[in-house]
Amino acid sequence: MTLRSALEVQGAVPVPIASHFDNRGITRQEDKARGEFNIWFNSFPAEQLPPVGGRITLGAVPFLFPARDDHGHDNLRCGEQCIELPLGRYDWIYLIAASERRSEDPLHLRYADGSLDPEWLRVSDFWPETPAHFGEPDGLHCADMHYPRHVQRAMGPSVWRSRVPVTRETELAAISLPDNPAIHVFALTLVPANPIGASV
């Protein structure tokens, strides 16, 4: 265990989002022909990512690393999915996400009292040799990339740990993702509200 993973955010709530998956972004070498992360049918090599279906810690935030659903999907293209959340007070929504060229769009936070706010979702490019544009300090970086017919060595794509602030200090109930098919989401975790002074 690294020092970083030992410093996991307390009380974080990984949220299962598999019911919204509609894209296969991670493949094993033997099924790389079925990858479809981007429009060229590239995919991330499973062998170079954490075990699917397990719990991982990325930059001190725990996530449920996606397992394939019944249709073989392991991530979603943002298309206005409404994700129900465990009701609670949160400060941050953390995501494991990647974009086909960097992009941004507002998502909408739905609160238990019926109020709704837009907040920006910004995700950097998954493409190899491309640094994070939006200041994401952490990510999962592969060494190779899967093409339908071959493995491209030394050309590693990335997924990023992105975050969205929850500015309203009331109970959050759901989020509605933007309609932006360039942006893919693999996992989502809520970080609970930290009352002012609690960490001091």
Partner: protein, 343 residues
């Protein structure tokens, strides 16, 4: 005089900006080689032009105004020009590039990635790409190639591999031969002229004149043939939706158009941000970020357009994206217009 059998040009820089393709990376390399500032040159222009008759299935597609060369289109405020040279065959194509390298000039050549061993598309996907050639060794039958598009490559391949890539017919053979196929490479290479000494200074006067000119360009009336300026962009986006609703295939066209606009818009946002920092103008940084937002719209459009191929993305969704893009675009132009008198 003995004709050398090998030569490598020294100090050929590699340059890339994250959302751009080979047109811009190769231009950056040549600008840098000639001592010209790269972002200050490639990021200055911002506009919209689409001439359906001019659309070319190339990774390096960029719409050119009538009479303007490719480099004059991407860097209209700087003394640069390009000319496509079209040799008769592969042998003449290599001879011409060899002569340029011997003369000390790195050369931008068109090539099919299918035949380039360092590209992921090697022996897999046909496409129409640009790389920079800057050396050769005939005793080893190799040529020195720089390609800053990931996976970045700077090394030697066989001369015969480069010649095959340049002589390719670039056929469309399977489902992933998309967007940039069906246009023979034809051994073309790009002759460029760069008058570095005559480049304008990157100063406040240049900043004002450039922004003014870009804004005037967006206010230009569309010609009959082409969609030009903000009005032309609005008309074009409306036209795409109409044609998609009528059952027309627009995915390849929109992917090409969006890729070109995305690259130029992102570079211009970076140019504005550079100016804001250089001249300490915080409000210009805000305007730069508004332009960057437009680039991020085009990231979404590029993929949405591609997904119309199989009906995964419907016309109504595309139309809604276009409405927001056009609104945000108008606001970004207004911000720059508002800011300009105070610069």
């Amino acid at each position: 005089m003995i004709n050398p059998s090998s030569h490598v040009i020294e100090a050929v820089p590699s340059w890339r900006y994250d959302v751009v393709g080979c047109l811009w990376t190769s231009a950056g390399t040549l600008l840098g080689f000639h001592g010209a500032p790269i972002l200050e040159t490639l990021g200055a222009a911002w506009g919209f032009r689409h001439d359906p008759a001019q659309l070319r299935r190339e990774e390096y597609y960029f719409p050119c105004p009538p009479g303007a060369s490719l480099w004059e289109a991407i860097a209209p405020y700087h003394p640069v020009r390009s000319t496509w040279r079209e040799p008769a065959d592969a042998e003449e194509g290599w001879a011409q590039v060899r002569d340029e390298v011997l003369a000390g000039w790195p050369v931008i050549v068109a090539a099919d990635n299918f035949d380039l061993p360092f590209r992921p598309a090697y022996q897999d996907v046909h496409t129409n790409h640009l790389v920079v050639v800057y050396g050769f060794d005939e005793a080893r039958s190799t040529v020195r190639v720089l390609d800053a598009v990931p996976p970045r490559f700077d090394g030697d391949i066989a001369i015969k591999e480069l010649m095959a890539a340049r002589d390719s017919n670039n056929p469309e053979l399977h489902a992933r031969d998309m967007f940039f196929t069906n246009r023979p490479i034809a051994n073309r290479w790009l002759e460029v002229e760069i008058d570095t000494a005559a480049f304008p200074a990157f100063d406040l006067d240049t900043l004002r004149r450039t922004i003014r000119s870009n804004l005037d360009g967006f206010r230009a009336e569309s010609s009959v043939e082409a969609f030009v300026g903000a009005g032309g962009q609005r008309r074009y986006l409306r036209d795409v939706v109409v044609r998609l609703r009528a059952g027309e295939t627009i995915c390849d066209e929109l992917f090409l158009v969006a890729g070109a606009v995305l690259a130029q818009t992102a570079l211009h946002a970076a140019w504005l941000a550079l100016a804001a920092q250089r001249f300490d103008i915080p409000r210009l940084a805000v305007a730069a970020r508004s332009v960057e937002r437009i680039a991020h719209h085009w990231s979404a459009v590029r993929i949405a357009g591609a997904l119309t191929r199989n009906g995964e993305y419907e016309p109504a969704r595309l139309e809604r994206r276009f409405h927001v893009l056009v609104d945000d675009h108008g606001r970004a132009l207004d911000e720059l217009e508002f800011l300009l008198p105070s610069l």
